[in-house]
C-alpha cells in the first residue's frame, strides 16, 4: 500500500526581549545557574506577574508577518502541573484567546514549487526552568534562569506531507522570526524548539491516522531524521497488523533513537483557567498600526526584490533572502563590487561552505564584504582567474590580508600579456609534437575538444596564472594557421 505522511508542528520561539515576560530579570543566555531568577521567577509567596510590553509587540510583529488576525483581547490562563522546574506549579500561557489568530506561511520546495502552510494560532507564554541531572549525586539540580523567558508557541495546521515540507516550514519560520529580530534564532541554545506531530494514512484517504508527538527537537537535521524514523515505525506497525497509539515521544538526535515518554492515558489534566493575577490585555488598532510601521522587510518580499533588482533566479534569491544577515552581506558585497551575479555565487558558494564547515555565523565571517568585493573586482578586471580567486579566498579566510595584498605577495596576478603568452604557447606546441600531429590529423569537429590537451602544459608553464580565455584565443589562432 502507498502511505501518505501528515505532519503538524508546534514551534516554541524564545523572544529576544531583554527581560522576562512577567518580571524584570534578565533573559541573557549562559549565566551561572539561578543568578537570573528574581522573587517572581522563583514564585515566592505574594509575588505577582506584570506583563512585558515588548513581548506583546514582538508577538504582534509575528502575527502581522504571517498575515494573521491579531487578538484584540488576549487572555492569559494557568496550565496546572507539578514539576520542579515549574516554580508556580502552573505555566502562564494562552488558550482560548491567543494573541495571534489564524495565518499562513509560504514555503518553497526543491522542485521549485511553493505551498502555503496554515497557522492555527500563536500564543504568548512563559518558559520553564531547567532540571540538571548531572553532578548532584543521585539528586537533581534546578536552574531557574530560563523560567519566565517569553515564548511564542506557533501551532500549524497538519498541512505538511513530508519531512522536506516540515523542514522547509521550520526553516521559513526561523527566517521570519530572525528577520523580524524577535528571536536570535540560536537553535543550539534552545531559542527555537520544535514539537512534531506525525501520522500516516493510506494515500487517497481523507481521515487522519493516529498521531504521535515528538517533543523538543532543536535542529533541522534532527527533525528530518526523526520524521523519517517515526514514519517508518508507524508504517511498519500498521503493516504488521498493529496500530499506532497516541503518545508523546522523545528523540535523541545524537544516538538517532526515539522512545515513548507517555501515552494519552498518562497525560495530565492541565485544569486551564484564566489567570486572575493578569487582566485581559486589550490591543487596539493604533498599537497594531504602530507595530506595522516598524516591520522590517520580510523574507518573501526580499526574495521578490532580489529577483527583480538583481535578476537572480527565484531559488538563489530565496537562499540569499532567507535571513537578514545573509541578505545584508550579499547586498553590501554587490554594492561594493557592482556585480550581483558574482556576489551571489560567492556568497552561496565559498562563503557559505566555509561558514558551514566551521559552524560560523555570517556576521562573524573572517572575510567581510569589503574583502569579498575586493576579490570579485580582481576577477572582473581579469587580474586573477576564478581558480586563483578560490586560492586567494582561502588565504583571506586564514587572515592573510585582503585580495590585493595576497595577489601581490604571492605573485598570483594573471598573465594577460599577449606577447608573453604567444611565446609560451609556441614553446608548448614545439615541445609537444606528438600532440600537434594528432590534432592536425583529427576530424574537424573533434579539434576544438582536442585543443584542450595543450591547456594543461600551458597552465603548468605559467603556474596557473595565464588568462584562460586569452590562451584559448592564441592557441586556436596558432593551431588553425598550421592546418
Amino acid at each position: 500500500m502507498e502511505w501518505e505522511t501528515v505532519i503538524g508542528l508546534e514551534v516554541h520561539v524564545q523572544l529576544a526581549t531583554t527581560t522576562k515576560i512577567f518580571s524584570g530579570a534578565s533573559t541573557a543566555f549562559g549565566a551561572e545557574p539561578n543568578t537570573q531568577a528574581c522573587a517572581i521567577d522563583l514564585a515566592m509567596p505574594g509575588t505577582l506577574p506584570v506583563p512585558n510590553e515588548q513581548a506583546f509587540r514582538y508577538a504582534v510583529m509575528f502575527g502581522l508577518a504571517i498575515d494573521a488576525e491579531i487578538g484584540k483581547r488576549s487572555v492569559f490562563e494557568r496550565k496546572n502541573y507539578f514539576y520542579p522546574d515549574l516554580p508556580k506549579g502552573y505555566q502562564t500561557t494562552q488558550l482560548e484567546s491567543p494573541i495571534v489568530g489564524p495565518g499562513h506561511v509560504e514555503i518553497q520546495l526543491a522542485d521549485g514549487s511553493t505551498k502555503s502552510i496554515r497557522i492555527h494560532h500563536a500564543h504568548l507564554e512563559e518558559d520553564a526552568g531547567k532540571s540538571l541531572h548531572e553532578d548532584f549525586h543521585g539528586m537533581s539540580g534546578i536552574d531557574l534562569n530560563r523560567a519566565g523567558t517569553p515564548l511564542i508557541e506557533i501551532v500549524s495546521e497538519p498541512d505538511m506531507r513530508s519531512a522536506e515540507e516540515a523542514v522547509a516550514f521550520a526553516r521559513k519560520l526561523h527566517s521570519i522570526v530572525t528577520s523580524l529580530g524577535i528571536c536570535d534564532g540560536e537553535m543550539s541554545q534552545g531559542s527555537m524548539r520544535f514539537d512534531v506531530n506525525i501520522s500516516v494514512r493510506p494515500k487517497g484517504t481523507e481521515e487522519f491516522g493516529t498521531r504521535t508527538e515528538t517533543k523538543n527537537l532543536n535542529s533541522f537535521k534532527f527533525m528530518e531524521d526523526c520524521i523519517a524514523l517515526e514514519v517508518e515505525r508507524q508504517i511498519d506497525l500498521i503493516e504488521d497488523g498493529g496500530s499506532v497509539i497516541q503518545e508523546t515521544r522523545l528523540y535523541n538526535g545524537d544516538t538517532k533513537v526515539a522512545r515513548s515518554m507517555r501515552s494519552k492515558e498518562e497525560a495530565n489534566d492541565y485544569r486551564y483557567f484564566p489567570c486572575p493575577d493578569l487582566l485581559p490585555v486589550e490591543i487596539d488598532d493604533e498599537f497594531i498600526e504602530a507595530v506595522r510601521q516598524t516591520l522590517p522587510e520580510l523574507p518573501d518580499a526580499r526574495q521578490q526584490r532580489f529577483v527583480e533588482q538583481y535578476k537572480l533566479s527565484e531559488y538563489d534569491a530565496g537562499i540569499l533572502a532567507a535571513d537578514s544577515a545573509t541578505a545584508h552581506y550579499f547586498e553590501s558585497t554587490t554594492e561594493k563590487c557592482g556585480d550581483a551575479k558574482l556576489a551571489a555565487n560567492w556568497v552561496m558558494g565559498e562563503v557559505s561552505a566555509h561558514l558551514n564547515a566551521e559552524e560560523k555565523d555570517i556576521t562573524s565571517s573572517p572575510v567581510n564584504t569589503d574583502m569579498l568585493a575586493g576579490l570579485i573586482a580582481r576577477i572582473k578586471d581579469n587580474t586573477i582567474s576564478n581558480k586563483i580567486a578560490k586560492q586567494v579566498f582561502e588565504d583571506m579566510w586564514q587572515g592573510e590580508g585582503d585580495a590585493d595584498a595576497i595577489i601581490e605577495a604571492k605573485g598570483l596576478k594573471q598573465m594577460s600579456d599577449t606577447g608573453e603568452l604567444e611565446k609560451i604557447v609556441d614553446e608548448v606546441i614545439a615541445a609537444n609534437q606528438a600532440m600537434l600531429e594528432d590534432w592536425l590529423a583529427s576530424e574537424p569537429d573533434k579539434r576544438k575538444k582536442k585543443m584542450g590537451g595543450f591547456m594543461g602544459p600551458i597552465m603548468k608553464a605559467t603556474k596557473g596564472q595565464a588568462n584562460p580565455g586569452l590562451v584559448n584565443q592564441i592557441l586556436a589562432k596558432k593551431l588553425n594557421s598550421m592546418l
Binding site: 522573587a39 522563583l42 514564585a43 515566592m44 509567596p45 505574594g46 509575588t47 505577582l48 506577574p49 506584570v50 506583563p51 494557568r78 496546572n80 507539578f82 520542579p84 516554580p87 508556580k88 506549579g89 502552573y90 534546578i142 489534566d269 485544569r271 486551564y272 483557567f273 486572575p276 493575577d277 493578569l278 487582566l279
Partner: protein
C-alpha cells in the same frame, strides 16, 4: 494609652503627651502580659518595634513626621515582611522569611508606623473562625469560649483586646468584616484593586483585598489613607486617583439613599441580630437618610459560586508550596512524587486540603463548564444585581454576619455551616465592591455588626456614613470585658 484611637494617638504623639517609645513599650508589655488569653500574635517583633519607635520619636522631634509617625500597628501574617517570618498561619511557611516587604507593609513603614508584630489568622486565610491556624485558635476577647471570626481573627482579637490600636487584615469572602462584627470593631474591605496585593500571600487572587481593622470609622479612614496606593507591581491594581478618606467624614447624610436588601433578612439570620441591625438602619433615618427596600435577587447563589471560584483559584495559587524552593519539606523524600505528596500532605491543614481538592475538581476536564464557567456566569449576575441597585441607592445596608460569635467547635465539623457564615459578605467580594462593618449593639453580651456596602471606589461615602453613625451612637465605644 491603649484606650486611645489612632486619631488620638497621632495627636498625642505630636503634642508630646507621650513618646512613641513609651507607647510602643506599653503595647509590647500588654501583649506579653495578656496575649496568652487570646493567642492573637504569631510573632511579636519587639526589637523592630522599639527601633522604629525610637526613629519615629526622632522624626517627631524634628517636626518631620509622616502621617502615622510613631503609631504602633499589627500586620496580619499574610503580608510579607522583609526579614520577619511570614507564616500565613500554616506549618507550610513556619520557616519562611521573605526577603521583601508587601507594598502594604512598605506603605505603613514609609508613613512612620511601628510594627508590633504579625497576627494570627486562619491557615492561608481559609476559614471564618480562626480555628484552622497552625498556631492554634484565636479567642474572642468578648467571650473566650467563642471564636473571633476569620480569617483575620488575630487582627480582630488584637485590636479588640487593645493589644494593637489597629491592624492590617485581608478579606476574600468576609475575612475583615465578619471578625469586625464578632469582635465589635470597624472593618473595611476596599474596592478590589484599591490596595496592592503585592507581597500579600494569595488565597483567591480575584477576590483578595487588604483593608484595616480599627476601633472607629475615622481610624479606618486614616489607615486607608496610607494603605491604598496604585502599585505597578500588581497588574490588578486600579490606577485611580488617591483621595483623603478623612476629608468627607463630617459630610451630612441628608438625602443619602440607603437600600436594604430583603434577601439579607431571611431565614438563617438570628432574630436578635436582625433587630440590632434594623435598629441601626433606623438611626440613619434620623440622620436624614432615606431608607428603601431593594432586591439583590441572586444573593442565594453567592455562596455556591464563591465556593467554586475561590477554591479553583487557591488550587493553583497554592501549587507553589511544593517543598522544592522554600517552606516545609518532608523528611527524607524517596523520590519526587514522595517529596510532593508528603511535603504538601504534612504541610497543609485539613481546610486548605479540602479547598485545593474542591478547586482541582471544579477545574477538571469534563467539569469545568458545569462548575467554574457556570460560577463565573453567576458572578456576573451577582455583580449586575449591585450595578442595578446602585442606580437607585447610594449605600446598601444589612447584617454582616448571621449571629454574634459562636463557640469553638460549633461549626468546625460542618464545612457548609461554616461557609454560610459569610453569606452576607461574599457577594461584595464577587462583585469587587467596598464594604464596611461597624458595631451596632450587643446580643448576649457579644457584639453584632452592621454592614454598609458602597459602589466602586465609594470608600469615602461608606466611611462618612459609618462615622456619622458613630457620632450619634456609642456601640463602637463598648469594649470587651477584662482587657485591662
Amino acid at each position: 494609652m491603649h484606650n486611645l484611637t489612632i486619631a488620638e494617638l497621632i495627636q498625642g504623639l505630636r503634642n508630646k503627651d507621650f513618646s512613641s517609645v513609651e507607647l510602643t513599650r506599653h503595647y509590647l508589655d500588654r501583649i506579653a502580659r495578656l496575649d496568652s488569653r487570646y493567642n492573637s500574635y504569631i510573632t511579636v517583633t519587639e526589637d523592630i518595634a522599639m527601633a522604629q519607635a525610637k526613629e519615629a520619636d526622632e522624626r517627631l522631634a524634628l517636626g518631620d513626621a509622616p502621617a502615622l509617625c510613631g503609631v504602633p500597628i499589627a500586620h496580619k501574617d499574610i503580608f510579607c515582611t522583609n526579614g520577619v517570618r511570614t507564616s500565613c498561619g500554616s506549618k507550610m511557611l513556619d520557616n519562611f522569611i521573605p526577603p521583601y516587604d508587601a507594598t502594604v507593609v512598605e506603605n505603613y513603614r514609609k508613613a512612620g508606623a511601628v510594627m508590633l508584630g504579625k497576627v494570627n489568622m486562619d491557615e492561608f486565610a481559609m476559614g471564618s473562625s480562626n480555628e484552622s491556624s497552625f498556631y492554634g485558635p484565636v479567642k474572642n476577647p468578648w467571650n473566650t469560649n467563642c471564636v473571633p471570626g476569620g480569617s483575620s481573627g488575630g487582627s480582630a482579637a488584637a485590636v479588640a483586646a487593645h493589644l494593637a490600636p489597629a491592624s492590617t487584615a485581608t478579606d476574600t469572602g468576609g475575612s475583615i468584616r465578619q471578625p469586625a462584627s464578632l469582635c465589635g470593631l470597624t472593618g473595611l474591605k476596599p474596592t478590589y484593586g484599591r490596595v496592592s496585593r503585592w507581597g500579600m500571600i494569595a488565597f483567591a487572587s480575584s477576590l483578595d483585598q487588604g483593608g484595616p481593622l480599627t476601633r472607629t470609622a475615622e481610624d479606618a479612614a486614616i489607615m486607608l489613607n496610607t494603605m491604598a496606593s496604585f502599585d505597578a507591581k500588581d497588574s490588578t491594581c486600579v490606577d485611580q486617583p488617591l483621595e483623603d478618606y478623612t476629608a468627607g467624614l463630617n459630610n451630612s447624610l441628608q438625602g443619602l439613599r440607603i437600600g436594604v436588601p430583603k434577601e439579607y433578612f431571611g431565614e438563617g439570620l438570628e432574630a436578635q441580630t436582625g433587630e440590632r441591625v434594623q435598629a441601626a438602619i433606623k438611626e440613619f433615618e434620623k440622620l436624614g437618610a432615606e431608607i428603601k427596600e431593594i432586591s439583590l435577587p441572586h444573593t442565594d447563589l453567592s455562596v455556591p459560586a464563591y465556593y467554586v471560584i475561590a477554591p479553583a483559584e487557591c488550587s493553583a495559587n497554592l501549587s507553589r508550596f511544593d517543598g522544592v524552593r522554600y517552606g516545609y519539606r518532608c523528611e527524607d523524600p524517596k523520590d519526587l512524587n514522595d517529596l510532593y505528596k508528603r511535603s504538601r500532605g504534612e504541610g497543609f491543614g485539613e481546610e486548605v486540603k479540602r479547598r485545593i481538592l474542591v478547586g482541582s475538581y471544579a477545574l477538571s476536564a469534563g467539569y469545568y463548564d458545569a462548575y467554574y464557567r457556570k460560577a463565573q456566569q453567576v458572578r456576573r449576575l451577582i455583580k449586575q444585581d449591585f450595578v442595578d441597585a446602585f442606580n437607585e441607592v447610594d449605600v446598601i445596608m444589612g447584617p454582616t454576619a448571621t449571629s454574634p460569635a459562636f463557640e469553638f467547635g460549633a461549626k468546625s465539623s460542618d464545612p457548609v455551616a461554616m461557609y454560610l457564615e459569610d453569606i452576607y459578605t461574599i457577594a461584595t467580594n464577587l462583585a469587587g465592591l467596598p464594604g464596611v462593618s461597624i458595631p451596632c449593639g450587643l446580643v448576649d453580651n457579644k457584639p453584632v455588626g452592621l454592614q454598609l456596602i458602597g459602589n466602586f471606589f465609594a470608600e469615602g461615602k461608606l466611611l462618612n456614613a459609618a462615622h456619622q453613625f458613630q457620632q450619634v451612637t456609642d456601640h463602637h465605644k463598648q469594649t470587651a470585658p477584662d482587657i485591662d
